[in-house]
Amino acid sequence: MGVTVNGEPRPLVVGGAVTPHTSLLDYLRELGLTGVKEGCAEGECGACSVMVARPAGPDSSDTSEDGSRWTAVNACLPPAAALEGQEVVTAEGLGTPVALHPVQHEMAVRGGSQCGYCTPGFVCSMAAEFYRADRRPGEAADGDAEHGANGFDLHALSGNLCRCTGYRPIRDAAYALGAPDETDPLARRLERPAPPAGATRVGDETAAFVRPATLDEALALLAERPDAVLVAGATDHGVEVNLRGLRPALAVGIDRLPELRGLDVRDEEVEIGAALTLSEVERGLAGRVPLLASLMPQFASRLIRNAATLGGNLATASPIGDSTPVLLALESRLVLVSAQGEREVALADFFTGYRQTLRRPDELIRAVRVPLPMAPVTAFHKIAKRRFDDISSVAVAVALQVDDGVVTRARVGLGGVAATPLRALATEAVLEGRPWSAETVDAAATVLGSEGTPIDDQRASAAYRAAMLGNALRRVWEEQGR
C-alpha cells in the first residue's frame, strides 16, 4: 500500500501528516520533493504538474492499447489518497542537475527558466508530451502555430503559466525535442499496463476517502451515506477543498470504475462513460462527434482535461461548464445508476436550479448518450478573456439540420447566461422551418440575444454577453452558411 514516486514505493501516510484531504501536492512536498510547487492551488497555473502512469487507451499509435501513457496532471487537486497504488513522476524523477533529462536540457539551455518556480511543472507537462506514443514529426498541418515540426502539441502546455519568460523559449524547447531514447526507462515503462486502481480506504469516521472496488460496492455505499461526496478527477472537488475549506466526512472515488469508463459507438447513439477523462473522450472519439471535437481544445487546459470527466462537468451543474451547451445541442441523455437500477434522463431536464440536478444522492452518472445521426451544421463558440485555459463568460453550441435550404431542426445550447445551462428554445423556434438565409439568421440572432438573463460580473458585462449570443449565430452563418 502506498504510492510509487519516481520509481520508489513510498508509504501513503508520512509521519501521520496525510489526511483524506491532503492533496497529492502537499504529500509529495512532505516527502521532500519540493520541486512540486504550489502556485494557485486551483489547477490554473500548472506549477504542481506531475506525470502519472495511466492506461494508454486508444490513440493513433499501434501498440498503446494495453500499455500506459504518462499523463500530466495538477498535483494540487486530487487527494493523495486517490493515488494509492499509482505511479507518479516529478521533475526530480526525470533527471538530476548533472544528468539532465532531454526535456530539462532543452529548457535549461534555451533560457526556458528565469525565476524557475513554474519550471518543474512545465518540465513535467512537456515530458508527458515528449513521451506521447503517437507524437510524430510532421503530423501538424501546415501553418498550424500550435504544433512543432516534431509533432509537439502546444496544448500540452496550455495549463502551465509562466510570469517571466513570455513563453517563446519554452515553446522553442518543446519544438526542439527529439524522440525518447530506446533505453529510456520511462519510455520502456509505457509498454506495460498502468497500475490498476485498487480498493482504498484512508481516514476514519470523521473524514475518509474511499475508493470502492466495484460499482456495486460504490452504489451500496452511496445508498448508505447520502452525505458522501463523489470524486472523479477532483478538478472541482480539489478547488472546493483548497479554496473554500470543504472537508467532507466521506469522499468516494469513482473515476476508475470500469462501468463508468466505456466508449461505444453504436448505430443509433454514442455512449460515453461518465468517468472517462476529457482527454480520453477526445482520443477515443477521434473526431467522430465534431461538436465535441471543437469543444475539447477550448475546455480548460490539457492538465485539467487529463483529469476532469464529462460526468463531473455535468454533475457539478455549473452554469459555465463548457461541455453542457455542447451536449444540450446534441440532445444528449444521461444514464443514472443506483442500487435500484438504471434510468435515462434528457440532459435538458437534468438541471433543476443553480448547481442543482435531478441526480439523487444514491445515484451516479454512469454514461452520456449522444443520439445519431448528428446535425451537419455545428459550431461551439466560447467567449473568454483568454483562449487557453479560461472560464467562459458565454458559451454557445449550435446544431442545425438543413434540408433543401430549410432549417428542419435547430438545437442551441447556452452557458453563462442563466443560473443553469439552458437550451435557447425561442431561438430554435425561430430557426426551424425557415430558409437557411441571412434574413433568418438576423431574426434568430436578435431573439438569441435576448435569451437567458445574463449578468455583469468580473468576466464580462451583461451587455457583452447578450451581444455575444446573437453574434455567435451570425458567425455560424458567415463561416458555414454563405
Binding site: A41, Q114, F388
Partner: protein, 795 residues
Amino acid sequence: MTTDLSRRPDGAVVGESMPHESAALHVTGHALYTDDLVAGRTDVLHAHPVTAPHAHARVTSLDPAPALDVPGVVRVLTAADVPGVNDSGVKHDEPLFPDVVMFHGQAVAWVLGETLEAARRGALAVEVAYEPLPAVLTLAEAIDAEAFQGGQPTVARGDVESGLAQATHVFSGELDLAGQEHFYLETHASLAAVDEGGQVFVQSSTQHPTETQEIVAHVLGLRSHEVTVQCLRMGGGFGGKEMQPHGFAAVAALGAVLTRRPVRVRLTRNQDITMTGKRHGFHAQWRAGFDAEGRLLALDATLTSDGGWSLDLSEPVLARALCHVDNAYWIPHVRVHGRVAHTHKTSQTAFRGFGGPQGMLVIEDVIGRCAPLMGLDPREVRRRSFYAEGHDTPYGQPVRHPERLEAAWGQLHDEADLERRLADVAAFNDAHDHRKRGLAITPVKFGISFNFTAFNQAGALVHVYKDGSVLINHGGTEMGQGLHTKMLQVAATALGLPLELVRLAPTRTDKVPNTSATAASAGADLNGGAVKDACEQIRRRLVEFDAGRGLEWHELVSAAYFARVQLWAAGFYRTEGLHWDSTAMRGHPFKYFSYGVAAAEVEVDGFTGAYTTRRVDIVHDVGDSLSPLVDLGQVEGGFVQGAGWLTLEDLRWDTSDGPHRGRLSTQAASTYKLPSFSEMPVDFRVSLLERAHEDGVVYGSKAVGEPPLMLAFCVREALRQAAASFGPEGVSVDLASPATPEAVFWALSAARDARPADPADAHVVEGAPGVEPDQPPPDAPELHPRSEQAPAGPR
C-alpha cells in the same frame, strides 16, 4: 571615450551567452525557495491570518480564546504582542496589527499552529467584532471626496497656455488605466527562527533584504545587528516584493521570538492577491497641443494614482510617472501635476516600470486618439516628435543618445519589413469584413537609476580562497532576472578567471549591509560596479605581488597567501553625476536612458473582439550586453508582461454598496488571467540595438529589467488601429485599458458607428483651450525631500 568602468577586456566572460546560473537546478526541481525549507520539518509552526470582511471598519473587539481551543493551535499573535513598533512600513502608516481595518481582507491577527490546517481552523475561530465605516474605493470617488495622501508634485517647463495657444490642433480628454497584480508564481513567504547565536534569522522572499531586516528589527524592538535576513532566490518579484514582504517577515519573526520555534508564513494565492499591493491604476486628464505637422507642442495633464490604504511607494511611483509622461517625445511646453488617491484597497506598490508605464501610456494614448483627428498616421506623429540632440526632458535632464531612437526605429523598419507589411495589412482589411488587422510601432525611452539619489549605491564581498576558488556576495537579490548570472560573469571577467572558479552565495544582510532594493532595473549596474570594484582590489594586489612573474592563478593565490596578501575585498559602487530635487521636481535623476522600439501586428475578430498577436518585432538597447541570453529573456518576458497589463489582466473590486463592498472579485488564478501560451506572439523576433556601448556603466552595458515592459504599447495601439479599421477613415478610437476582448469589441462597434465606445466616457474634445485638468490647490503638499525613504517620524 571609454571609462575604466565600461571598458571590456579581451576574452571577457561578460558578453557570453549563457543559461541562467541556476537553470539546471530549476529544471530538476532542486532550486530551493524560502518555503521549500519547511518540507519534512516537524518543529515549524505555521501561520494563518485572521482577515477582515470589511473594506473599512473599526475593530471593536478581538477575542483569540476560542482559537486556542482548536487542537494544534499554539498561539494567536495580536497587537498586544508587539514589543517594538506596530508598523510594517517605513512611513509608520501601516500598522501590522491594525485597530482600524483599511481594506477588505486585511489581517487583524495571525494564528500559529502545529499544522497549517490547525492554524486555518484557529483563524476561523478567532472572534472579531467590527464597526463598519464608509469606504472610498474608486478613483472617481476619491477625486470627488478629495481623498489624497502624500505630496502633490508638478513637473513643468515652458508655458503651457501659450503652447496651447500656438498650437494648430488642441485636444483634451481623459483616460482610466488599470493596475496590475504581480502574480509572481511564488507567493510571499518567510521563515523565521531564533538561531543558536541568539539572533533572529529570517529567510524571506524579498527584493529588499535590508529593509525587511529594518522592519523586523523595529517591530521586535531590536537593533539591526540582531536580525539577519537571507533571500535564497525568489520565484518572481516584479516589484511586488520590494516593500510588501516586510510585514509577513515581521509576523514570522515575532512568532519565532515569542514561541522560540521556527515560524513559517506563506500566503496562498488568494491571500497574496487579496492582501498585497499591486501596480497603481491611474486616472489622467489632459490637454495636448500639436503643430501643423503633428508635432507635440504642449501637454497639460493631471495624473491621479490609486494609492490604496497607505503611502508605501506611491510617491516615488508618482514621481517616476511624471518623469516619463514625455516618453520619447520633445514637448516644449509641459505641465504635469500628480496626486495620490487614498482608497480602501491594498496598498499599491512598485511594479516593473514603477509608474513609468502609467505616465508613458498617457502620451501614447493621446497620440493614438488624436492622430486620426489630425488626418495623420500615428506612426508619423510619433517619429516627428522624437527627442533630438540638445533637447532636455521636462525636468531638466539633457537627453543623451537621442539618435538611438532614430537608429532603433530605422533598424526595426528594416528588420520587420514594415512598409510591405503595412500594405499587406491594408489589403487584408479591404478584403475582409469581419476580421481586421492592425500594425503599430511605438518607442520607449526609460530613465535608469533610482530617482532618490542616495539609493544609487551598492556593496559586494568577494573572497578568494587559498585553493583559488572564488566566492562572491553582493547586495542584490535574484528573482529570475539573471542578476546572479551577470554578477558571476562580471567577477570572472574582473578577475580574469574562467566562470567555473567563481561561485555565488545567497544574499544576506550580514554579508553586505545597507543595501538598496533590487529594483529600478539597476541591480546589475549597481552591484556589478561593486563586484567589479572588489575583484579589482584583489587583482591589483595580486598583480603587484606577482611583479611580472606570470604565475598561474592557483600558484599565485597560494604564494600570495603565504606572503600575507589580503585575498578578499569589500567592494562599493555609487552612480556618479546624479542629483534630484524632489520639491522642485528638477535635476539629473538618471544615469542614462534605455531605448527601444517595437512593432506588433494583431488580428481582431469583429464578432467577439477576440484577437491574436500575429507578429512582434523588437529592437532594444541594452548597451553592450553583459549576458545576451539573459537580456533576451528580460526583453521578451517584459514585453509579454506589459502586453498582459495592457490587454488582458483585469483587476475588479466590488464597488457596489452590497455586503461585499471593497472585496477584490478577481482574487484567484481562475478570475485574474495573465498571459498564457495563447497570448504569446505567434512570430516573436527580438534584436538588440547595434553599436550601443554605454560609457560609464559596468562593461558598457545597460539596464534591462523594466524598459521592455513598455514596448508592449504597440500591441494596444495595433488593437486600436484594427478596431478603427471596422469604421470609416479617420475615426478616433477610445480603447479601454485593459483592452480585453470585450473592450476591443466595444471599441470596434463604436468605430463602425463612428461614435465613442461608451457615451459616458469622456471622448476626445477638439478645440482650444480645451478642458483644463484639475489644478492643485495653493496649499497642496510638496513631496517630502526623502519621500522614497522614512520621513522624520517616531522610531
